[in-house]
């Protein structure tokens, strides 16, 4: 994923309504009516958010009869979050380095 695409993904995620839409779509596909009811927001406002999510590749939209269903696409999220190492790795490695720092500080103290 290139920088432009990552910009779109993070930009899309940087809004709590859009994050809420993604969480809802994680349960099952939804149409604009479902989302309008859930967020008590106007249809045009929801449609705007869906457009941003679609541009970022986070959702796809398909026609089912008269409805247009939004569907969560997990791939871009995988790339965006994979960009940061996972939580456990981050802290495990940091605390290992802190152990080394303490060891070197305490050895220095012993030598003095």
């Amino acid at each position: 994923m290139n920088d432009d695409q990552l910009d779109l993904v993070f930009g899309a995620l940087a809004d709590r309504t859009r994050r809420g839409i993604l969480a809802r779509l994680a349960e099952t596909d939804a149409n604009v009516g479902d989302l309008t009811a859930l967020f008590t927001m106007s249809q045009p406002a929801i449609s705007k958010h869906l457009k941003v999510l679609e541009q970022a590749g986070l959702i796809s939209r398909n026609r089912q009869g008269t409805m247009r269903l939004s569907h969560l696409q997990a791939e871009p999220l995988k790339h965006a979050t994979g960009w940061l190492v996972d939580y456990r790795t981050y802290w495990s490695e940091s605390y290992d380095r802190l152990d080394e720092l303490f060891a070197s500080l305490n050895n220095t103290n012993k030598e003095q």
């Binding site: 969480a23 994680a26 190492v85 981050y90 380095r97 152990d99 720092l101 303490f102 500080l105």
Partner: protein, 159 residues
């Protein structure tokens, strides 16, 4: 003394918290300095191979901090927050924000507990704004399937 396998991270089901604890061969004063002295802080925070730059660090009540990591691929991630309450050997509190997801602010509490023999237990709790976001962050730590969130589970497994 082996402290490397004392790291515990849990994401208690239905809460917005990530709980962490880790033992250190260091005093509470040293733990406080490691978190509050920017020169020391820069030496350990962040994954291996990541370059750390501190752009702001005011270790006091109401003080702000800001730092950046650069990974080996040359990508930058910036973080910032504010300290709340005076940091002491008992611990400290802060807000935390990853600027790649701005507006998503965590509240973090750190406790330093004396274990005797010059050793300390560090406990930390990160409180996130929703269970869903906490679950997405702690995907490898969430225990059990929450009823009604089967699809969210599929998402977590696919990430």
């Amino acid at each position: 003394m082996n402290t490397t396998d004392t790291l515990k991270i849990t994401a208690p089901e239905g809460t917005q918290n990530i709980e962490m604890s880790r033992e250190f061969d260091a005093t509470r004063e040293q733990l406080l300095a490691a978190h509050m002295d920017p020169e020391l802080f820069a030496k350990w925070v962040g994954p291996k191979g990541y370059e750390m730059t501190i752009t702001q660090f005011e270790p006091r009540h109401g003080g702000a901090y800001a730092f950046e990591h650069r990974n080996p691929e040359g990508n930058d991630f910036a973080f910032r927050g504010v300290f709340h309450g005076e940091p002491t050997v008992e611990g400290f509190n802060q807000t935390f924000e990853f600027l790649g997801a701005p507006g998503e602010i965590f509240f973090e509490q750190f406790w330093f507990e004396d274990l005797g023999n010059g050793r300390t237990l560090l406990r930390a709790r990160s409180t996130v704004s929703s269970v869903e976001i906490r679950d997405a962050m702690a995907k490898d730590m969430v225990s059990g399937v929450v009823e009604g969130y089967e699809k969210l589970d599929e998402l977590l497994a696919s990430i």
